[in-house]
């Protein structure tokens, strides 16, 4: 009797310890949305989360530099090819989410090293007021963007620094092949005002009127439209790539149970519903969850998939080629 009670007590103690665990997360989802999603997770599960925002590059660099003694449990966000890269470098560990069956193959690793969180297509954000002032049409396709009338009006992130920009490169390669894609980007270069370091900077600049046409993933633009800016969101007609923001549990994670709980929650219908409930403008990865009102569903956009394994294996080479041929440096 006493032994049994002791066992119950011990279990309760362990459980309460587990509940008191603080999950340490490196998040490459922008800070505001990270906070919203992770706060919903804490509200649902009671697990506290300590989050540091690091964009894709800094996060991976940090995780690798710290691999001898990991400081975080989960890498949350950043496109899936980076998680494939992290898996290849032995920085992450497998865990198959409870509801992994509800995700299509592109949204998870077969062995459970990473799972998708949400997905976003690439898009153009266009300041309709400024274009109208200048008597210019709203661009509808990739081909439209090289129109000389747009000289110095386009901002996009730099592939040297941003995963978003690399998604642009991979999309164009998938559409036209590598050489044609680079020839196109060299043409486009004449119209680019500046290449930003962060993948969400162009939409910020668009809101400020710093630029007129911005290229990045769609949420930043959908948000501007929602807030009443004179912005139109265009999905180039030839087709757009999309990011699958994913998460991995880091090798050597100290709060493994809490990390698994985050992966389970995020891939559940409940977790996916929170994406629109907290106004992230991210598209859910589960077919049984609605994206929310006013957000285009994935079947309305001409989506182009590229092989994340190719992306991961060729990233360094393609960035070097971009520097040489597009920047002309």
């Amino acid at each position: 009797m006493f032994v049994r009670r002791l066992a119950v007590l011990a279990t309760a103690l362990l459980l309460s310890l587990a509940a008191a665990q603080t999950l340490v997360v490196y998040s490459s989802v922008d800070e505001e949305n990270s906070n919203r999603i992770l706060a919903a997770f804490t509200a649902d599960t009671g697990i506290q989360v300590q989050m540091t925002f690091l964009s894709t590059g800094p996060a991976l660099a940090r995780i690798e530099a710290e691999s001898a003694r990991p400081q975080a449990d989960v890498w949350f966000g950043a496109p899936s090819e980076n998680h494939i890269d992290a898996k290849g470098r032995g920085l992450t560990q497998p865990y198959v989410a409870a509801e992994a069956g509800a995700l299509i193959g592109e949204f998870k690793d077969a062995e459970g090293y990473w799972h998708a969180i949400y997905t976003n297509p690439l898009a153009l954000g266009v300041r309709t007021d400024v274009l109208a002032q200048r008597g210019l049409e709203v661009p509808r396709s990739w081909a439209d963007l090289t129109n000389p009338g747009y000289r110095g009006l386009i901002q996009m992130p730099s592939p040297q620094a941003s995963g978003t920009a690399r998604a642009v490169v991979f999309t164009l390669i998938e559409l036209w092949g590598e050489d044609a894609a680079f020839a196109y980007m060299a043409d486009l270069n004449a119209n680019v005002q500046t290449y930003t370091q962060s993948g969400t900077a162009p939409s910020g600049a668009l809101g400020l009127g710093e630029t007129v046409i911005a290229l990045q993933f769609s949420p930043g633009f959908l948000k501007l439209v929602d807030e009443g800016f004179p912005v139109e969101v265009v999905f180039p007609a030839e087709g757009v790539g999309y990011e699958v923001a994913s998460m991995s549990i880091l090798a050597g994670a100290q709060n493994l149970d809490a990390a698994k709980a985050l992966v389970d929650w995020m891939t559940s219908a409940r977790g996916q519903e929170q994406l629109s409930a907290v106004k992230t403008y991210f598209l859910p990865i589960r077919a049984d969850v609605s994206a929310g009102e006013g957000i285009p569903s994935l079947d309305e956009i001409n989506l182009v998939s590229y092989d994340p394994a190719f992306a991961s294996a060729n990233r360094e080479r393609l960035v070097d080629r971009w520097v040489e041929e597009v920047l002309g440096q």
């Binding site: 340490v24 997360v25 490196y26 922008d30 800070e31 505001e32 906070n35 300590q50 989050m51 540091t52 925002f53 964009s55 590059g57 800094p58 991976l60 660099a61 690798e64 530099a65 710290e66 001898a68 003694r69 400081q71 975080a72 890269d85 200048r134 000289r151 110095g152 730099s158 040297q160 620094a161 941003s162 005002q193 500046t194 290449y195 930003t196 370091q197 962060s198 969400t200 900077a201 162009p202 939409s203 910020g204 600049a205 668009l206 809101g207 400020l208 009127g209 710093e210 630029t211 800016f229 360094e316 960035v319 520097v323 040489e324 920047l327 002309g328 440096q329």
Partner: protein, 558 residues
């Protein structure tokens, strides 16, 4: 050799001194030299750990790196020349010419020094960007492009000219205006008096200010990151991009080493050649504060220039304040507190963290600075020159290099510090102690050792002498060291970006993230909070040091 042996014997007789010297040596070896060695090693290794020179060979083949090096050097040279010239004009006007509002103009000119990075860059975007207040709204320019060389140069001149001003002010104050007046009285024209007397006497100071601005410019990270753009590569941001964007630690380390070379050369020239040629013609108090060599016309021309720079500084800060309190700059000027609310909700932890780190590192840096200065000036021990060089070396090392070095050095046994408060504090203490050391050395060299000897003859031991006699004399140097350490700890970015963690984050890194996401309003709000905190802290340090030196000072000079 025999001298060294004798010095060791003397050292062995004073165990406390031996202990202090040994401690300082170990600390500097560990926290200044070791991380730099790690960077050098990493730049010579492949990912697998084999030795290679392949990263350096890229310097010959990759135009990107050649351009980055050329751009960094040419920008640094240009910013050095223009920044120093501007600093000289302001310093000359405010020390030599009788004009109104000198005190206010002095303080306004210093404002950029206590500001977080990106203030210049963000203001420039607000004022001179594509949709800037001046370029678009006032001048109606359609396609003004601020990104690239000129954006960086303008923003760096704004950021670093005040440094030149501060150092040239000291130089001009130490040249007695009486000399100029004498030249004028014996028949020289005003122009001749300036070029034959004032200018030659201040030339070493001008050169020294140029080198300081050059070093600051070449290691600057914040301004180029926002304004250079990918089409105008520069070394410091490129090293960061190699590590964080291309995940290539070795290439980043290689660029860091390349970045180190011009900085170290400039530093060595400044330290061992220029600083030996400083002239001091003031003995005792300055006799007259204004010189007659400035004609009324020149006086107002100079004053107009100074007013113009001050107006620019004020405009930049006005824009930051406005930006922090309006919804979206350039689109929706509705007043709002939402950005400030963001700072005090989402960003609150980084405000606390920054303050804690600055408060812990400031006194450590101040005390270490005075201790090293004391050892270097007053004590004899072997390796003194090496110790002095090592202790001020980190001044010349760009922050990017320090950051990479610390993460390489302290994420593996024997000393694991990543993710802790300690790594940030140590980085800041050792990075910002040189100014305290230099000030301490300068003060101590002017104090006759016989005062300390007298105390010892009267029976005081070394510690009491240091505490009761030396330290009070050092109070002004200690104070300026403290202020410098605090300001830099609150505004540092280039080293800190590699060292922040989930546990310890900094406001400057928050500003970088916000600027990166194009949320300039929040960035401006963070900047204002930083400036207010720094100003309060300087006031507190002033009061504390004054009270402390009043209660302990026994001897006062001048």
């Amino acid at each position: 050799m025999r001298r060294a042996l004798r010095e060791i014997r003397i050292l062995a007789r004073d165990p406390l001194l031996l202990f202090l010297v040994a401690t300082v040596f170990v600390l500097i070896a560990l926290f200044v030299v070791y991380p730099l060695a790690k960077v050098a090693i990493a730049s010579l290794q492949t990912r697998g750990g084999d030795w290679t020179a392949e990263h350096y060979q890229l310097l010959q083949t990759r135009r990107l790196y050649q351009n980055a090096l050329r751009n960094s050097l040419s920008v640094a040279a240009l910013v050095g020349v223009v920044g120093t010239a501007l600093g000289f004009v302001v310093a000359f006007t405010l020390t030599r010419v009788d004009v109104p509002f000198k005190r206010a103009l002095h303080l306004i000119t210093l404002l950029p020094i206590i500001s977080p990075p990106f203030v210049g860059a963000v203001s420039i975007l607000f004022l001179f960007g594509f949709n800037g207040l001046v370029t678009k709204q006032l001048l109606g320019l359609q396609d003004f492009n601020i990104y690239g060389r000129w954006g960086v140069v303008a923003s760096q001149i704004f950021t670093f000219a005040p440094l030149a001003y501060l150092s040239l002010r000291g130089v001009l104050q130490s040249i007695s205006p009486v000399l100029e007046d004498a030249a004028y009285n014996v028949g020289a024209t005003r122009w001749q008096a300036f070029w034959r007397v004032t200018f030659p006497l201040s030339l070493p100071g001008i050169f020294s200010a140029f080198l300081v601005v050059f070093i600051e410019s070449i290691s600057d990270f914040g301004n180029p990151l926002v304004l250079a753009g990918a089409a105008f590569p520069m070394l410091a941001p490129q090293a960061y991009l190699e590590i964080t964007g291309s995940f290539n630690l070795a290439r980043g380390a290689m660029l860091a080493v390349v970045l180190l070379i011009p900085s170290l050369i400039a530093f060595a020239v400044q330290r061992y050649w220029v600083s030996r040629r400083q002239y001091v013609t003031v003995t005792g108090k300055p006799t007259a504060s204004t010189s007659r060599i400035v004609s009324p016309a020149a006086k107002w021309a100079l004053y107009a220039l100074v007013l113009a720079f001050a107006a620019l500084v004020l405009a930049f800060y006005a824009v930051i304040v406005l930006g922090a309190f309006t919804r979206v700059w350039g689109f929706d000027y509705t007043p709002t507190l939402q950005h400030l609310r963001y700072v005090f909700s989402v960003g609150l932890k980084s405000v606390y963290d920054t303050l804690i780190i600055a408060i812990v590192s400031t006194p450590l840096s101040g005390l270490l600075g005075m201790l090293v200065a004391y050892l270097v000036v007053r004590r004899r021990f072997p390796g003194k020159a090496a110790l002095e060089f090592g202790s001020i070396l980190s001044y010349a090392v760009p922050g990017t290099v320090v950051g990479i070095g610390y993460i390489l050095a302290f994420n593996t046994p024997p000393l694991i510090l990543t993710g802790t408060l300690a790594i940030l504090v140590l980085a800041f203490v050792f990075r910002y102690v040189p100014v305290g050391i230099q000030n301490g050395i300068a003060v101590l060299k002017q104090v006759d050792p016989s005062i300390e000897e007298a105390a010892q003859n009267l029976g005081a031991d070394a510690v009491t002498t240091f505490r009761k006699v030396t330290l009070p004399l050092l109070a002004p140097a200690f104070f300026s060291g403290l202020v410098y350490a605090f300001v830099r700890a609150m505004t540092a970015i280039s080293a800190a970006i590699f060292l922040v963690s989930a546990n310890w984050n900094l406001m400057t890194v928050q500003i970088l993230n916000q600027v990166g996401s194009g949320r300039l309003g929040v960035a401006a709000a963070f900047s204002i909070v930083t400036i207010v905190l720094v100003t309060i802290a300087i006031a507190i340090i002033t009061v504390l040091v004054e009270r402390w030196s009043k209660t302990t000072t026994t001897v006062r000079f001048g």
